[in-house]
Symmetry: C2
Subunit: 249 residues, 2 copies
Amino acid sequence: MISINIVGSGNVGTQFAKAFSLSGKVRLQQLYSRRADGFSECAADVLHDLSGLRPADVTVLSVSDDAVAEVASALPFSGSLVVHMSGSLPMDILDGKNRRGVFYPLQTLSKSKPVDFSDIPLCLEAENEADLKLLRQLASLLSESVHEVDSRQRKALHVAAVFAGNFTNHMYRNAQRICEDNRLDFALLKPLIRETADKVMTLSPSDAQTGPARRNDQKTIAAHLDFLGHSPRAQVYELLTQSIRNDQL
Amino acid sequence: MISINIVGSGNVGTQFAKAFSLSGKVRLQQLYSRRADGFSECAADVLHDLSGLRPADVTVLSVSDDAVAEVASALPFSGSLVVHMSGSLPMDILDGKNRRGVFYPLQTLSKSKPVDFSDIPLCLEAENEADLKLLRQLASLLSESVHEVDSRQRKALHVAAVFAGNFTNHMYRNAQRICEDNRLDFALLKPLIRETADKVMTLSPSDAQTGPARRNDQKTIAAHLDFLGHSPRAQVYELLTQSIRNDQL
């Protein structure tokens, strides 16, 4: 049985603690939370002082990007495997006194919505083959989508995820605003949103592209820009239309 | 039984001809196609000369936006109900010699992928209550999502659909490019794409927004912009980050 520590009781830490616990194949050795009520739902030893942490097979840091380096240095042990869960940080931000690795889940996790881990890509990195093997074993307990991704690739993936997730949601937000301003129910757009996402499960996004920009339908583009007037949305419309045009050159 | 003509054998016209035919409650009176092989799969009277078209309860123009006015004027009858299917054109672009209406399906239809019409919003407009009632009857044969939407609202909806559909797909495309450039499989992002769309089925997009821009995480934003360098994608990243920031002010 693999023993793990989880440091940080935020959204990601809490979800992973539950998932590892449910797998029945991991021993949650110790959990660390700054907050008094962190990990309250987990049946494990919860610490509020880092100095009480003992080495485990893997110590997982699920703290904010800004805190990773500091927490890694503050660990009261050395020579053990310590991983962070950040998409944007390199592996070597971790203090070299421990063996280093990364365990990055590529998904948007919210506290309110339960997560099915089985298809969440887990992106792994480690300094040596034995540690990578251990991380692969651990990841496979949760997900069928386990990948070895180096620091440079992980950074690329994180940027790509901002486009595919955060910016996509912002497009929905813009659409919602336009609906609100015109007494239209945002729900009208939900089938389109679902179908647009569904399409790229089988088609390449470049083949799935439709719309006035794709067709270079200048008349409709001009009418839309006229409709948007001087709103900041007009600027977004213009740049993305240009970007779609450039993409085809 | 409602009798209809369909003018135009493009993607939308073909899909609707099939769907109406399958409903068993519509008589496809005449279909018009410029192309010799248009509507080849439909068991109906297919014309290649508009002058042979006879009035039906509803004549549906599923031609390109640029052709709507011209085709409406070229119809060899008057006093009958004629509707267009465009999101961006006003109702009164149709020749006033016939009664006018709009039958706008808010969805992205592709020829290759079969369509489930039952949840596609159909947005209707007509000049009088009796015609609106007839269009409602017709639309209800295909979909459970039937809405009365005036010309101004329909224009808004079309712009909103560009954001929620076309621009969203372009975000996927950008993510795909970043993956390609870094030897990463685009499939890694598919769970995120699905979850991002799923989230707004129940959450408002403003509540669902996450990411460095939302958190105002300047360090990560700077690192991402540095990663993107001078690519056109950097410009898109910068504007959308700013746009997400502004949205919270």
